[in-house]
Symmetry: D2
Subunit: 137 residues, 4 copies
């Protein structure tokens, strides 16, 4: 499964170079992740409610072209790896006006409890585990 999210570049997201600041892309990835999880049937909010937190352990981002104020972007997300303690998402950001790929990235998340200690999702939350596994197909 691949999710597609739409984002409009906010004025506050630009910097004095006139382009979107690079620290904004991880925030867009997060929007895409939120949407992906909703479509796959396990909302982020619900995960946290049952006690599963997903703090980042690694982030990577490649910037091919700048994005400008008010540009409409499409952020595609998918899960590429899943272990009982880790999950990895990949992202592609496109500028809608010319369909140009402007950025790619990934985030790796630990699966932890509310105390930020590791959990084994497969054992503790088998239903959630299945939903996520199925979303990879």
């Amino acid at each position: 499964m691949v999710s597609c999210s739409r984002v409009n570049v906010r004025y506050a997201e630009t910097d004095k170079m006139g382009i979107v600041h690079h620290s904004v892309y991880p925030i867009w990835y997060e929007i895409a992740r939120t949407d992906f999880c909703k479509i796959a049937g396990f909302t982020y909010a619900k995960m946290e409610e049952v006690g599963v937190m997903t703090p980042l352990v690694e982030l990577g981002s490649k910037y091919y072209k700048p994005a400008y104020y008010d540009d409409e972007l499409e952020v595609k997300a998918k899960i590429v790896k899943l272990t009982p303690a880790r999950i990895e998402f990949r992202y592609e950001v496109y500028n809608v006006k010319d369909n140009a790929l402007i950025n790619t990235g990934f985030t790796t998340h630990a699966l932890v409890g509310k105390n930020l200690r590791p959990i084994n999702m497969k054992k503790m939350y088998p239903e959630l585990w299945n939903l996520i596994s199925n979303s990879m197909e």
Copy 2:
């Protein structure tokens, strides 16, 4: 008491107009508040630990001159009003290079518990109340 905090303008805080985005000033006020509380003897972190949260109920800001990347600024803070359920801070932001006043603002905070319900600080936390009262002189 008046506290003085130093802030260096971050690149990410600028926008495509080439100046600091207006949404950043409330964040600087917060830094000033943090410093004010420390000096007055009641750290923000400790307040939250004992269960006192201070969410904003009102914010006001006046922008006289722009701030630019890497400018060094001084943010002055003081408490101007205190009731058992409310507290009001005032701020002045100066550009260090020419001592120009570039912004003034205020924030009004509710005094609430961890459940975000109002508390009577004077009764429930008399020691904290006294520290804050004394910091107004």
Copy 3:
């Protein structure tokens, strides 16, 4: 004219209190402003292209209820005042799930050129002036 914009609360917009940080609301106002201008026929981007910048001179915000991660919000915007050198917008933020008014605010903008010096919009950009005037009805 009143514009209506939809915003979904981003994870990054929350703070350790578990609610949206107050500095985010001015960014939502800006989204609403962008949408308002588009509907009224004078895009923000085009204004800057012809050389009209609209830096903030004053901001005010009142917080009635908190907003939470993934809440869907509606931000209404309208222009309430227009002079050749100033423009004032008012905003109302509603939580879509219960239609509760959670925040109101205003922003006052100077009308300046690219050098950040004041301009007389009525004289210099009569067409733009008319579009904005008409949007107030």
Copy 4:
């Protein structure tokens, strides 16, 4: 040369998990970069004045431990690679209270002109090139 910058965690930098949001670390890297350049004798602001922009082409970040509100952090920066069209910085973030390494990262920057087109820094700005080269020792 290695630069050391101090950062205090801002309240607005935390998220509802109670820890610093991962998108903030690239902003801290930027502060470290600004400081590094100042110490090495080529300020970021001056580089942009003479017409050299350094947009990101790649970013990587590894998160070992969370950072909390009001934590004092040390961000170390150094240049690890320099070609006429690229420059790569590496960063280490330490929590001052226990000297624990909480995050490492890198940023790769293109060297471009104000029009965002590539430049050959070695040829066009030999003095700047020498300053940067020397800072690697």
